[in-house]
Symmetry: C2
Subunit: 414 residues, 2 copies
């Protein structure tokens, strides 16, 4: 990406777009990409991306550690993905039925994911989690769904973090447990009695604003046992983590296999796709439910997904991102020590989070991020970040230079 | 599109893909694009599309009247749309926030759609209808939703045509009325009492397998009055019809304005996008709800939508599709008379349906479609069809030749 004229404090184009948006889009922007809550200086609008670099509408370039909040796993404009997408687009995208690449992709997923006997595709992660729950209910004839307190599974009424416009009945059959807490899980299973349809669980605990917790293998094994005893479905919500931690599903790393998995985000390197995989026990139920969308057979994202997963396997993407994530983590620890700033780092190295000690209002995290942003690195103060396979050692080192500015800013806060 | 070698009865590639799919995709394919219920000879898999022509994986080319079940409104590979998509894709698609085209598109929608003060974007039509209902509930603090018996609003638990995996609570606050029946609407409003949040209605009655009914203007005006009296939201589900019948929303044709509209399908000529538009009264509620998805800020479909809507306005797409639809309708009537076959044609000319007299099991409709398919036209026996702006008089006349074979086949049934 060509160097842009540095204009560190000129965000006039971003400000102009935000002003125009305020009148035609409620609140300026819906959902998780609304920059209103981000630290000072963060842009809302972006001009372009290339590899692990992004450029905002005022021409500022950043080494990016959000990867579009997950989808970009090989880097923007990865040549193999773009070539596959272009080839399919020249033929057709949204047709009267799927293109042959649907079958190629489903076969690849089933071959790559040990628990998967079959596969279905959607557009949103929430399409996949919702349909997985519906399949579990159809396959058991039962209703209760166990959800970890605070976990995010989508922005539809049964699971949205906001209750505005949600009715009590939308969540009538949901019971809660605490992530990694076996006793709370067993209590929720007891509470469900003979009506347990499924337990849904994220690949690791990635609730916003608190340290990330990896799954305790004993907890995961107990969840598997409880589902087996009840003939209920263990649904792994791998929407956020899938294909970054492992190519066969994120719980392959701890040896526990789900019945149903929901994927999205990284599956097609930014092209819109969701997927459900499931075991043989749930095939008939998956046939019985009705789930569809106008663009779910779109062929271009499937071609992109096939190329993305093939490339991730070829280069062992999860290992590569793990190495770069550890290089970032080690560097941040060194810099924090040098500046006398106390931090805690958590999560898998491919999806890290940096929190500051004594930082209830995120003032330190925000100061760190703002200063690092001005110096050319795009970090997040509260949400897990994302590595991509486009991050090189040089990119990590460049980002660490920017992080040094961030730690200096935190040190100045006293 | 170059002429393909005619192989009228060789569907071996399609059969092979179906065989492979049966093992890795439940039931062979989910949802409305599953070809299992289509007449004899219909392909499941497609190789490519160009304009109003589609080619299946066995090389058979058809004049297409399904337009990918709605999305293709300018024809496959429309140059202006493809150029806009390519320009944006070269910059970036899924980024850490939207691209400037988001604001351009929202401004265009608000300028084009008289009831719209604001706009939000999603991926599925069901995302848009679900969020519109959530906005109505958030904005009224009430719960009841009136839905026309038999109407399709998406494939999520509150509205899916299948009850497999759906709980009673998913539909706890839904009350039914009959489309175009004022008395049933008033009765449902009475039943909702002080708890009426919204009435949702499709642009016209397009329930599968029965004649299409245009909205009775008196019925639509009474719905508007009832919503005004209750300060409830009139939600127009314009997902299927939007931008084919009128560019300002389909009920502009009868002079009744909704509070909220859900769009998708034709908005971006096949690129995946949904949209909600709303009036000022509902802006705050739209700000309060949380609705989002990993790919909802994708810039390429927005660039495609901007180009699609601009082109539809430039050429007056609804009028053009209306003319071609009437040419098809008149031709089909003439041919049916010539063959002594009784048919009924219904729906707006841009979205026609042909039904046969005394055809409870659709044997005549299926015979018509199979024979017409063999002769090169892709019709549907039970679902409304779709015209596009790529259909020329020559395409319609070519399809009518094929339809002649269809009517001959029906006449042979006796």
């Amino acid at each position: 990406m060509s160097a842009s004229t540095p204009r560190p404090h000129d965000n006039s184009r971003d400000a102009d777009l935000r002003r125009r948006a305020r009148s035609v889009i409620p609140g300026g922007l819906w959902g998780h990409l609304n920059a209103a809550g981000l630290p000072d200086g963060y842009p809302q609008y972006f001009e372009r991306g290339e590899g692990c670099r992004i450029v905002d509408v005022d021409g500022r370039e950043f080494v990016d550690f959000m990867c579009s909040w997950g989808p970009i796993v090989l880097g923007h404009h990865h040549p193999a993905v773009e070539a596959a997408a272009r080839r399919q687009a020249a033929l057709g995208d949204t047709l009267n039925g799927p293109a042959p690449v649907l079958v190629d992709l489903a076969e690849l997923m089933v071959a790559m994911i040990p628990h998967a006997a079959w596969c279905m595709f959607e557009k949103n992660g929430g399409d996949a989690t919702t349909a997985a729950v519906t399949i579990a209910r159809a396959g058991t004839g039962r209703r209760k769904l166990l959800v970890a307190r605070g976990s995010y599974h989508g922005a539809v009424p049964w699971c949205s973090p906001s209750l505005a416009g949600v009715t009590a009945e939308d969540r009538a059959h949901i019971l809660h447990y605490d992530y990694n807490d076996v006793a709370s899980l067993e209590a929720a299973v007891d509470q469900a009695g003979g009506d347990l349809a499924a337990i849904i669980v994220t690949a690791f605990r990635h609730d916003m604003g608190r340290a990330l917790d990896l799954p305790d293998p004993a907890f995961a094994r107990r969840m598997r046992e409880l589902c087996d005893e009840a003939d209920a479905a263990l649904i792994l919500d791998d929407v956020r983590a899938g294909f970054r931690l492992a190519l066969g599903g994120s719980w392959e790393t701890i040896g526990v296999r789900p019945d149903l998995s929901a994927f999205s985000k990284a599956i097609a390197n930014g092209y819109p796709l969701g997927a459900i995989t499931g075991g043989e026990r749930w095939r008939e139920a998956a046939t019985k439910i009705f789930t569809t969308g106008s663009f779910w057979c779109e062929a271009v994202p499937m071609a992109a997904a096939h190329a993305t997963l093939t490339e991730l396997a070829r280069i062992d993407g999860p290992a590569l991102m793990g190495r770069m994530g550890r290089r970032l983590r080690d560097g941040l620890d060194r810099l924090a020590g040098r500046h006398g700033v106390a931090i805690s780092q958590s999560g898998p190295p491919q999806m890290p989070l940096v929190l500051f000690a004594d930082d209830a209002g995120f003032a330190r995290g925000s100061a760190f991020c703002s200063a690092a942003l001005r110096a050319g690195a795009y970090f997040h103060p509260r949400h897990n970040m994302f590595l991509s396979c486009a991050h090189t050692e040089a990119d990590i080192d460049r980002a660490l230079e920017a992080a040094g500015e961030g730690f200096a800013a935190v040190a100045r806060l006293g």
